[in-house]
Symmetry: C2
């Protein structure tokens, strides 16, 4: 299970400083939508330059103009770019094609998708699916992520996002998604390095327990 | 009927130059999603500064983090900002609230919304609804905009978007949406001023005919 550190609502310089504090204990670094819309794709380039050996996720939340946006993100150094699952089918297809051309990956954000849309999307086995409770839903309705049932399909890679903290990460122990996306539980911690280390320790322990189970 | 000039896939400087050519014949100027994601919200600020007397639409295509994104767009000088109709209800609500706080407007993009979602969205009589065939659908499937039936509701304000040209604008003559969004038919024209003037002449003639009909 990889930890994706989500950087949102900061200046690019603050975001880099925070990620430097946490970098030893996180695997992927997400350039949040707010950074891209506030500072442009230059935010992706600067963060890739600051962390050339990390997997960089550009959370561009594409919903149209897919070739242009994905090309732009990959050219700027992103390893993964995001598209909304609620987009028209043509957009999803264009994202997959562009990622294949660059030998990079697509993360499909399942926010507000119907069961029917999900079924269509799950044909893309090469994608990572992000099961996502939005910031607005968290803040305004208190909705929590419980991870969709399809996340147990061993042929699909899943990421889980939405207000995950040291208290709530336990919910995902038995599900073991490929990626757990953590934002403010690290970025707003008094000591960001220690917070990241705590998450990493929990996940390493789960990995060990799983290995023990598998070897029994 | 207002003409909204959509500026996409240009540098901010090119976009301003193009809009200067067309400005006498367009009412609203849209800072396209591609400009916002490529250059950040600074693109909105620069275009508002270049056209302080035009209505500026920030096509930020918000789908989460609504307070932050709408606040950012309005602070940068946008008069209208866009939210995706496929967003969770909490996000739409937050956009409406933020626009009310700033005494500005929301454009709700109906791209890929279901009939059920549209019904929910039409409660917001103060919003402008954008009936939108996406770039990807136009280019990959040849889909054309036929304007949803609800656009005839006199209580709702509608904008229509998606590959509108001098050949296709005729389709909307009997429907008279509040806003017609035109991109490449002006921006890619050999003479952008003449192209904009042609659209304006057509619409002025429709307005006159309508007035004549109403006065009979």
């Amino acid at each position: 299970m990889n930890i994706q550190l989500a950087l949102d609502r900061f200046s690019v310089e603050e975001a880099i400083r925070i990620a430097k504090n946490a970098e030893d204990f996180v695997d992927w670094i997400e350039v949040g939508t707010s950074l891209i819309k506030e500072y442009g794709v230059e935010s992706v380039r600067k963060i890739k330059n600051a962390f050339p050996n990390k997997v960089i996720v550009a959370d561009c939340k594409t919903i149209d103009n897919a070739y242009y946006e994905f090309d732009m993100c990959f050219q700027a150094g992103a390893d993964i770019a995001t598209v909304m699952g609620v987009s028209p089918a043509a957009t999803i297809k264009a994202c997959i094609e562009t990622a294949n051309t660059f030998n990079k990956k697509v993360m499909i954000d399942l926010l507000n998708t119907t069961e029917e849309q999900k079924k269509e999307l799950f044909q893309y086995k090469e994608a990572i699916f992000c099961d996502h409770v939005s910031k607005d839903e968290q803040e305004m309705t208190g909705k929590k992520n419980i991870l969709t049932k399809q996340a147990d399909d061993p042929l699909l890679q899943f990421a889980v996002a939405g207000g995950i903290s040291l208290d709530t990460i336990e919910h995902f122990k038995d599900r073991m998604p490929s990626v757990v996306i953590i934002g403010s539980a690290i970025t707003k911690a008094v000591d960001q390095r220690i917070a990241a280390e705590q998450f990493k320790k929990i996940i390493l322990q789960w990995n060990e327990e799983n290995q023990y189970e598998n070897n029994r």
